[in-house]
């Protein structure tokens, strides 16, 4: 096996092997477990880096194995996968560090970190999948390996949330499967990137291809939490903070959005999707989701619920971006894969830290938190500003490109959606920030026992460093967006390549 075939496999192994080892290790070997976890995560980042350099040097990374009759399991480092791989490798590293700190002293850590690693293995598989069947395999693996993480706390609320999560995602998976099977009977074993195959097929099978698109994207929409299929997401936020962070930033919901990106761009091709007339409804669904999610977020007092509804909303920027024809809007959609991940992961880290250190879980309890946990709150503030879309943050870059892309495509209504959404973003993200910094903890409505002691209780470094690292990235990604190698230039390059196909 050459290096080109080995590397995609190694990217899987760097989290699969830790998972197996951790399951077998005794529960009390916390240090060994941490070393294996972080070691695997660092190795994965390094391998992802090697892969990026290799792709730019013109090496093809592809691994395949016979699976079903006429269908291979394919892992391939195309441009879009590469972006997702780097994102998930980096955020897995920070989240691993955070999770080790967050769960310190908790029970069942072997189980938690074992499934945590399996979950990342599945995500990497999803990222590198070279055809729909491979994608499906890892997509469903992700569904089942995330379940034990969602119910990790083991209380009644978690178990109910876990049930909702599983039933929604299995239902979505079933729809998606029917689409995959149907497409297979029409087109045989199509791989991602072979958009010409479907373009040719569309001459004869227009109706069938449209229906297949509905099945595929309809199935993916469950995980991507498009309204009205989003119901599981706010319920699943009962999971421990690092799980929510991973779920909302790189794993489950992101897998749904990423799947939509690949179906639209790498399977159908944007032009064909436009011809079939399926993109406008998708854009509308995304727009409705953006506004609806924001409206619901506005009225949530529970911080993590507010963040969950914010994910519903923010994630649809990706879908919206790729469903508007044009390089600029596609760039926006692709770059938001990265930006949303970095911002949302920060917010969940900080929410988790606040809850762990101060017992604060509601927006109404956040008074004075800024003085007690200034570093954590700084990270939170940066990410929140990013979500609102103020310059010079990463969120601004997305919204700017999305807006200009929509204008280029002549879809002015999108600008209105963006404006409304940004106003709503500000309305639900700025109040908690303002409370935390400008209100004192002694105010009458927050006279709880834990909060009434105003001394500093900053989060420990395991919790703080990941939060600060991702929080600062929100600014760095925005300020340095024009630099070569930034996610933006990368996304723009990919978008041009995709549109030229």
């Amino acid at each position: 096996m050459t290096g080109g075939a080995l590397l995609p496999l190694l990217l899987l192994v760097t989290s699969l092997a830790p998972a197996i080892i951790i399951f077998v290790l005794p529960e009390r070997w916390a240090v060994t477990r941490a070393v294996i976890n972080v070691g695997g995560a660092v190795l994965k980042v390094a391998l992802a880096g090697v892969m990026v350099l290799g792709v730019f040097a013109g090496i093809e990374f592809e691994w395949r194995m016979a699976f079903l009759p006429g269908i291979d399991l394919v892992l391939r480092a195309d441009p879009v996968p590469l972006l997702f791989i780097v994102l998930s490798a980096l955020l897995w590293l920070t989240t691993t560090v955070y999770a080790i700190g967050f769960l310190e002293g908790d029970e069942h850590q072997a189980r938690f970190f074992g499934f945590f690693s399996l979950c990342v293995t599945a995500t990497v598989g999803i990222a590198l999948a070279g055809n729909l069947v491979t994608f499906l395999l890892f997509y469903e693996l992700l569904t089942v390996t995330t379940y034990p993480l969602v119910v990790h706390k083991g209380d009644a609320e978690s178990r109910v949330g876990g049930r909702a999560y599983l039933l929604y995602t299995v239902a979505g998976g079933a729809l998606f499967l029917v689409g995959v099977v149907w497409l297979h009977t029409l087109a045989g074993a199509v791989e991602f990137g072979q958009t010409a195959v479907l373009a040719e097929l569309a001459i004869e099978h227009r109706g069938a291809l449209t229906a297949v698109f509905l099945f595929l994207v309809g199935g993916l929409a469950f995980k991507a939490a498009l309204v009205p299929l989003h119901g599981w997401l706010p319920r699943a936020m009962v999971a421990p903070a690092p799980v929510s962070a991973l779920l909302h930033a790189v794993a489950v919901v992101k897998a749904g959005a990423y799947g939509i990106v690949r179906v639209v761009h790498d399977l159908y091709g944007q032009q064909l999707a436009v011809d079939l007339g399926v993109l406008t409804p998708l854009a509308l669904a995304a727009a409705i989701t953006i506004v609806y999610g924001s409206l619901r977020a506005l009225v949530q007092d529970d911080l993590k619920r507010r963040l969950a509804y914010s994910t519903v909303s923010q994630l649809s920027y990706i879908t919206l971006g790729i469903s508007i024809l044009g390089v600029t809007s596609t760039t926006a959609g692709l770059v938001h894969l990265v930006h949303q991940g970095v911002m949302k992961v920060t917010l969940f880290y900080c929410a988790g830290s606040m809850n762990k250190m101060l017992g604060v879980s509601r927006v109404s309890e956040m008074d004075g938190v800024g003085r007690r946990m200034p570093a954590t709150m700084t990270a939170f503030t940066l990410a929140a500003i990013g979500m609102v879309g103020l310059p010079p943050t990463a969120g601004f870059i997305t919204k700017w490109y999305l807006g200009t892309g929509a204008i280029e495509a002549g879809q002015l209504w999108v600008v209105a959606v963006l404006a409304a959404s940004s106003a709503l973003n500000a309305a639900y993200f700025l109040p908690p920030v303002a409370r935390a910094w400008f209100r004192s903890a002694e105010s009458p409505d927050a006279a709880r026992e834990t909060v009434s002691q105003p001394e500093r209780r900053e989060a420990g470094r395991w919790l703080l460093w990941p939060s600060l690292a991702t929080g600062l990235s929100v600014i760095v990604l925005g300020v340095l967006a024009g630099m070569p190698g930034s996610p933006l230039t990368w996304a723009a390059m990919i978008a041009e390549e995709l549109m030229a196909r």
Binding site: R111, P148, G154, G162, L167, A174, L177, V181
Partner: protein
Amino acid sequence: MSGTLLTVVVLLPVLGALLTIWTGGRTRAVLGTSSALVTLLASIGLTVQVWERGGSVFHLDLVGDLEVVLVADGLAAAMLLMVTVTGSFVAVFALVEDRRDVTGRARGYWPLSLGLWAALQVLFLGGDLLTLYLMFEAIGVAAVALVAAGGDRRANLAATRYLYAELVATVTLLFGIALTWQQAGTLVLAELPAGFGTEPLGAAALALITAGLLVKVPLVPVHLWLPAAHALSAGAVSPLLSALVVKTAFVVLLRIWYLGTPQAVPVEAAQLLGALGVVAILWGSMVAFRATEVKVLIAYSTIAQLGVLFLAVPLLVAGQVDAWIGGLLHAIAHAPAKAAALLAAAVLAEDAGHGAIEGLRGAAARRPVAVFALAVSAVSLVGLPPTVGFVAKWQLLLAGVAAGQWWWVAVLAVGSLLTAGYLMRLVKPTFDRDAEVSRPSDPGGTPRRADGRDIVALALALVTVLAGVRPGELLRLLQLVPPHLAGG
């Protein structure tokens, strides 16, 4: 020589059964397990031969015109592997359990289970109706005896009902076979005259045989004997029944319909069987949603899963080879998953001190390996990748879409959702943190997180993953059948 190996495969479990009658104590269990494992090796050898040379047929003359015909084709080899792989894991489980002597198992377990095993093998190899009939008898007797060996009154009642069902099925089957003999002059499937079954009496013969087989499967609405018999039998018995015995009638049905008399099956009859399959899925799922006992839930899940098998029938009649592969693979895939689930359930019931679903609360902390085994089995039963259950579902869906019979596609999709729903009832409570305190089953003993049995259950469950990641060989094996399938 192929013939030698075939004889070895068939006779080894018989020898094991005889040896375990005359030995006792630990020797009996060790001998029983050894003959199981050697049979496994022999069946792997036979599979390799079939793989390399294609199928082969053996004739053994009995008195008069009667002869025994054994067909070692890809289908038979695949079913033998299902029996020997699943059976071996169950045997090792029983060996470990025997050492702990927790159930005070009846003496009969080893001879009966090995006898059952031998009969299953011959049945899957059987190429003539007489052999099939005799083996159905042997399987029925051994299975009923194994259920009754569970000991208590309820098990005896269940065994009695099982026996009645078997009698009805056998008599129906026998009438059908006698009529076939009278009409066709032969009982060898491959020698049935072309067009047999299209004339009224031949059709009646096929209908009687089919009816008898449906009771044996069992398909709704003649399933009522199954749940009690499967749920009340001992930990190492119910996997043999639910995973292996229930597959016999389905495979024989396919052999007779598609390898014996491919032209005689009317489309309406096939659609009707498919429709009964749908009823089985819905009914089985509905009861599984309301069950309070773990093994009752699993037994009704078996009813539903057997319904899925019959979705393959109308698609097969529509000419879809993928339905042949998918239906048989579903039968095979179900075996390790269901057996592992039942083994895990046995361990977990012992841990809780009773078999109610309520007893699973907190089990993920007390017996993590057994719960993991249960969960992996559930994933395969639902039909999610990367398990072999998914591959089977994929093939069936492919056949459904290609045949343009969308209603079966919809049923398959809804069926897996229902399966996920009711199996969720077993997995969800295991994560309950408020109920994690261990309750040692034997007072004074220390609670254990896992013993050999948990690991056996998990290993068997992981077989579904192994076969699910690399299904190519199994899929090809199922297509190595006598040539008349290629035409139909």
